[in-house]
């Protein structure tokens, strides 16, 4: 096996691990979203949810899962718009929930 092949094999293995661990990312995102939905002073949870999606968006594409990365980035940007709003409209929050569920269903 050449050096390039060996590296590619490692990268493929890491991509497989990434895919296998996606459920952990979604568990974290769903937990953060549940706290966001609970209301009250939860700006930190919105920031955390944004970070988790940002992380997924960047990582997925880098491992070759371009579509998942693009979809995650789309939801990330929706949350970014909401971050600046002190009073988030329930409809907007529902939309985020739907977008998260749709994202998870693609995996």
């Amino acid at each position: 096996m050449s050096g390039d092949d060996a590296v590619q094999a490692k990268v493929d293995m890491l991509a497989k691990i990434f895919k296998g661990r996606l459920h952990v990312r979604f568990e974290k995102m769903n937990a953060a979203f549940a706290l966001c939905r609970a209301g009250g002073d939860n700006q930190e949870q919105w920031v955390e949810l944004h970070r988790l999606l940002h992380s997924l968006g960047g990582a997925a594409g880098s491992f070759g899962f371009d579509e998942l990365g693009a979809r995650a980035t789309f939801v990330e940007l929706q949350i970014k718009d909401l971050l600046g709003q002190p009073d988030k409209h329930p409809h907007d929050i529902d939309q985020i929930g739907l977008a998260l569920a749709a994202l998870q269903s693609t995996t």
Partner: protein
């Protein structure tokens, strides 16, 4: 008004200041001249430059007229102020809140925006953008044995970067959050290149740009090439990098070829 607040001039304020404040009331012009993006209101009062009883109406008017903006409030930095590195007895309490900015003239602003726009466009096209090429083989010892600090909060992405950079003979250290990155900068050996994510956990309200500013202020690290890793391609982001002293940008999700090309360019290999 919070006396820990630091104000800086806007482009409009700088133009007015250069014109001698002739369109402003005398006290307003005097306060505008004192605003410098570095010194808090409290410090200006303490030094005697501002009178405690008089500054507030002037600053309020300058804010209303768009001549100054709030640059930094210590209240926003409580997390940073109170942060302590557990176990290592390293105190960074004053590391990040004293971020300094260089105010630009309107002409410089136009030039830098044009450069930022070119950079963003290049970033979209090629996946990376560097502000300038380092001279070839500027690194001691040449191409082999380079060291890299990867500041990345995503474990799996950090592992991927480690595998890819190691394949090129680089020794890689990973810092997964702001506090650990600060600890690495404070106590670790200077690397040949830093790959710096922008959105990082650990210090609310702070991001990779604050770390970059810290690196540039630390004498022993000031000249380390820093490549910002971003998933946001905008003129504004590239502008921030230009002002903060980044050497390049790589778009995330990254392609390995683009990442390595950007490292080669900024390190000079």
């Amino acid at each position: 008004m919070d006396k820990s607040t630091i104000f800086s001039k806007t482009a409009k304020g700088m133009a007015e200041s250069r014109a001698g404040g002739k369109n402003l009331a005398r006290e307003h012009a005097r306060v505008l001249a004192l605003v410098n993006g570095k010194t808090s209101i409290g410090e200006l009062i303490e030094s005697g430059a501002l009178l405690d009883a008089k500054y507030e109406p002037a600053l309020t008017a300058l804010l209303e007229h768009g001549m100054v903006r709030v640059f930094e409030s210590a209240k926003n930095n409580l997390d940073a102020l109170e942060w302590r590195q557990g176990g290592d007895d390293v105190d960074f309490s004053d590391a990040l809140p004293t971020l300094q900015v260089e105010e630009l003239t309107p002409q410089e602003s136009v030039q830098i925006w044009a450069q930022a726009r070119r950079g963003a466009s290049e970033l979209k096209k090629a996946g990376f953008y560097s502000y300038g090429k380092a001279p070839l083989l500027s690194v001691e010892g040449g191409k082999s044995g380079l060291t890299a600090l990867v500041v990345e909060d995503d474990d799996e992405l950090a592992e991927l970067l480690t595998v890819l950079l190691s394949e090129k003979g680089m020794q890689v250290r990973v810092a997964p959050d702001m506090p650990k990155a600060l600890a690495a900068i404070e106590s670790g050996a200077r690397p040949d290149v830093v790959l710096l994510d922008i959105v990082l956990p650990g210090m609310p309200g702070k991001d990779g740009f604050d770390l970059l500013a810290y690196i540039r202020r630390k004498q022993s690290w000031a000249k380390v090439p820093v490549v910002m890793v971003t998933s946001e391609v905008s003129d504004d982001q590239v502008m921030k990098g230009l002002k903060a002293g980044a050497d390049g940008y790589i778009f995330k999700p990254f392609k390995w070829e683009a990442l390595y090309a950007s490292i080669r360019e900024v390190v000079g290999i």
